[in-house]
């Protein structure tokens, strides 16, 4: 009798990790047992069916036993598989959860980033539109959008008490529009402008520049400007159109010791001119501080007048006509009077004016001395004739204002060497090689061509 079907009825399908002989061994072992038991029962009851029935009753269900044996043999492997499966499932679920968490985090981050990007893009768009609107005009004229167009206009000067309406040519010299970081280099030619005219400098790189403007009579102005990118900028300057009327200034000399001026006395008048007659709307014009040296004799005759070589138009600021000194009306005119008197052959006495306040006192410039300009360390650094203190007049000359200056002897030289030099060259102690006055004041008066030494004013008579 074959018990194969009864034994294998519940055996599972072949497992991949099942030993190759396991199933066969279970079947063989149980079949041998059932067959042995069947033969014994058959000896007892003869009937095969009855014997078979009794074998199965004693044995139990062979399919269940076979399945039990198979499972017990495969339990370790199946458990390992289950553990692996469970582990795999756990890892899978964990990974899925982590992916979900990461996805949600990234999604939230992406939302936030998207919001920020949108805000930045909107802001950038606004900036671009604003920039585009600003640069449209530049693009139409072919100008790079990061350059700025600069226009300078010369306007007629508004009415002023001291300045007549413009009627002559105005020069606007722009000789030092400076490239950024390179002050001192001119990037444009001289430009002349009539009142009402404008000049377009074209497109310039954005940055800092400086105007250097020169008007008539040596008046000038420096002004720094800042050109922003993509913007058209216009500057207007009111320019002194002509020389203001010069005012006569009558100077009388008296000596504190009661001595009258002798025929051989000479009076040296030093002016520091610092005139600022006009303030325009956008800039302040100034007249560079300059020195006017006026030499007169004891009769008031002007022997010589000169100015700094850096001021070619000094004769326009102050002049001497009909033995009177004229100066430009303005804020300041500073004077220092020096009397040269030769007492004897080798002795020279100099008289200097006392410091006198001149009107208006509130405009006085403190701490400024003409000696700082003329007598400071002349002749190779040897301090000579230096008088400390504010020996200067500072004030505003008004019309028909006369100035009386008292001369007081404050210094007497009695050194042979020095006296000889001074006799030979009375003005040589005023030479200022480093100040641009060399030669201008070095010509001794009465020595022939005494008025031709001026290097700038050039003499007036």
């Amino acid at each position: 009798m074959d018990w194969h079907d009864e034994i294998t009825a519940k055996l599972p399908p072949h497992h991949e990790e099942e030993p190759p002989t396991l199933r066969e061994e279970i079947i063989c072992e149980l079949r041998d047992h059932l067959e042995a038991s069947f033969r014994r029962e058959l000896l007892i009851c003869v009937d095969a069916d009855l014997a078979r029935q009794r074998v199965l009753e004693n044995f139990g269900n062979p399919a269940d036993i076979a399945l039990n044996l198979w499972y017990e043999a495969m339990k370790g492997k199946l458990m390992n598989n289950k553990i692996s499966l469970a582990l795999t499932a756990f890892v899978t679920i964990f990974c899925v959860c982590m992916i979900g968490v990461m996805w949600s985090v990234m999604s939230a981050q992406a939302d936030m980033n998207r919001t920020q990007v949108e805000a930045m893009m909107a802001q950038t768009q606004m900036m671009m539109e604003q920039f585009k609107s600003n640069s449209n005009q530049k693009e139409e004229s072919g100008i790079a959008s990061d350059w700025a167009e600069l226009t300078v206009s010369a306007l007629p000067l508004e009415s002023s008490e001291t300045v007549t309406p413009p009627k002559i040519e105005i020069r606007l010299i722009s000789n030092s529009i400076i490239s950024p970081g390179n002050f001192g280099s001119s990037i444009s030619d001289f430009i002349k402008l009539q009142p009402g005219e404008s000049h377009n400098f074209g497109a310039l790189p954005a940055g800092q520049y400086q105007f250097s403007l020169t008007g008539p009579a040596g008046f000038g102005a420096n002004r720094q400007i800042l050109l922003g990118p993509g913007r058209e900028q216009n500057y207007e300057f009111e320019i002194l159109s002509e020389l203001p009327e010069q005012l006569p200034l009558e100077i009388q000399f008296t000596t504190a010791d009661g001595q009258s001026l002798r025929d051989d006395d000479q009076v040296l008048i030093l002016f520091v001119v610092d005139v600022d007659p006009i303030e325009s709307k956008t800039d302040q014009w100034y007249r560079s501080t300059d020195i006017v040296v006026l030499t007169v004799d004891s009769n008031g005759n002007v022997l010589e007048m000169s100015g700094g070589k850096d001021t070619p138009s000094i004769d326009e600021v102050a002049s001497v006509k009909n033995q009177k000194f004229y100066c430009l009306p303005g804020k300041y005119a500073l004077a220092q009077i020096c009397l040269h008197r030769t007492l004897q052959k080798n002795s020279v006495t100099k008289y200097y004016s006392d410091p006198v306040s001149y009107e208006p006192p509130e405009t006085s410039t403190q701490g400024f001395s003409i000696y700082d300009q003329l007598f400071y360390k002349p002749m190779g650094g040897i301090e000579q004739n230096f008088i400390a203190g504010p020996n200067s007049y500072i004030g505003r000359f008004s019309k028909d204002k006369s100035l009386t200056i008292d001369l007081t002897p404050v210094l007497e030289l009695d050194e042979t060497m020095e006296a000889d030099r001074l006799v030979q060259y009375p003005w040589s102690d005023l030479e200022m090689p480093n100040m641009g006055y060399g030669g201008g004041l070095g010509t001794p008066p009465g020595n022939g061509g005494q008025f031709g030494g001026s290097n700038s004013g050039g003499g007036f008579f």
Binding site: E25, C28, L30, R31, D32, G60, D64, I65, N68
Partner: protein, 110 residues
């Protein structure tokens, strides 16, 4: 007989039957039946799992023989099985003596 009484003695009986000579499943059931005076009848549903379990524990080893055209699986006890059998015998003797003592005191056997 109450089957719960022989619970825990299956491995002891299998090792004891196999202690003298190798045998196979049907023969083991018959040996237990005879040696117990037909008091114990090992059910195949318990015998074969017990045999396979002892084999996995290295207390038994098996081999096959061809008998009447059929393959028959024989089991024989190993040294480890002998050692385990000795331990189980001792445990059972103590257990049996204890039970016997208890039963004898109540039944006048002690």
């Amino acid at each position: 007989m109450d089957p719960t009484l022989i619970s825990g003695t299956l491995e002891l009986m299998i090792l004891e039957v196999l202690a003298n000579s190798p045998s196979y499943g049907y023969e083991i059931t018959q040996s237990v039946k005879i040696r117990s005076g037909e008091r114990f009848l090992l059910k195949e549903g318990s015998l074969y799992p017990g045999l396979h379990r002892l084999e996995r524990k290295k207390m038994l080893e098996s081999f096959w023989q061809q008998v009447d055209g059929r393959k028959r699986k024989y089991y024989r006890i190993t040294a480890l099985g002998q050692k385990e059998l000795a331990q189980k015998r001792k445990t059972w003797s103590e257990f049996s003596a204890g039970i016997q003592g208890i039963l004898g005191a109540n039944c006048g056997l002690a």
